[in-house]
Amino acid sequence: MTPRRLSLDLDAFEGPFDLLLTLVLTEELELADVQIFEIVATFLSRYARPTDDSSGSYVLDLEAGGEFLVLVAALLELKARELFPDNPEIELAELDPDEAAAELAARLAEYRRIKHGAEWMRERLEAEASRFFRVGPSPLAPSPPRRIAPQDPALLAHAMKELTREPPEPSLAHLTLTMPPVDTFLARFRAVLERRRRFVFDEEVEALSRIEQAVALVALLELGKSGEARIGQSAHLDPITVWGGQR
């Protein structure tokens, strides 16, 4: 069986190894939540078997091991990038193999010690399971009243005045409409009239918001007033046509 089909039972994932790879690559599974150590342990339990000579050594299926190593190395690199996204100290690619091995050994040693510390703690908790003590106050502990410095009664009146003060009307400031300046449309229509002799106002402002259309109309009327443009409409509510005029 290929290691791709290796069946995994991890905290964060249950299923074949290749599905885990797919989920990681499609970002449906956080690689940070995956203990790669567990994957390795599962692999070894499946593909390493004791030698027959009772030497305590193990034989690894080299073919499966090779494929597995490539996949796990890729996962490890991805994970390293995720865990240290902007740490300038970690330039894994720049490490030479010797340094990388030293770094890896140091990390593993640190982690192994912590695992041993955790194991010691687990054993200690079991040994201490028969030690019961009170967490929280004693039922008959004295509770002397907390002493309070003299206070000014005016504070109470002030608190009451604040409580009875009607809240301000809700502010509508954040709802104020933002209007583009008329100048923007003046410049825009002048530029159009320099290129074309005539344009249809409605087509020109079709894509704008109602507010922008209104400001554009003010600009157009401005142009008409100054004689820079002539404005015409064949019928009420028909499209407005604009011709260039004399300056």
Partner: protein
Amino acid sequence: MTEPTQLFALDNPLDGVARVVEGLLVVASKPLSAEEIADAADEPLERVEAAIRLAGSRLREGRSGIVLEEVAGGYALRAAREAAEACGRLFERPVQRGLSAAALESLSIVAYVGPVSRPEVTRLRGVVSDSIIAGLLERGLIEEAGRAEDGGAVRYRTSPLFERVFGLTSLSELPRLDELADGPEELRDRLETVAGLRGA
């Protein structure tokens, strides 16, 4: 050092149960009834009651600094009276300089509009005030004043300590709020209206 109680322990078959009683009581953060102790110790009630008496004869004033006491709800351990002064020093708390804004608001409601219940303070402030009321009670600034006529929630009024802290001989000496309302009823109405406006 001679250990005469050791002999005594060997003599009395109840001693093991008495030690279990002591162990349970030193871990408990509330009084334990004889039944609770019997269930936990998995012993018959009469035996446990005898063991409680035995433990009580050891854990008593003059003989031990830990005293087994029967209180409402069962049995609990306390410090012997000769340790009272030391316990007082252990639990002594520094003088509190000021009161929080939330405490002042709630106190002003109890003082001007009280007696009021927790739900009423919550409604009049427009903020859940249960823990504030509990804090004021614990500090002794307010006290229970019975239930509302309709048998509803417990109501609270200010305490004599409140008057001492605020330098008043009675509530009638509170600063007047004539410009706000004409009497507690009107003040209550006004608070309710404003709380409603805030909530809206």
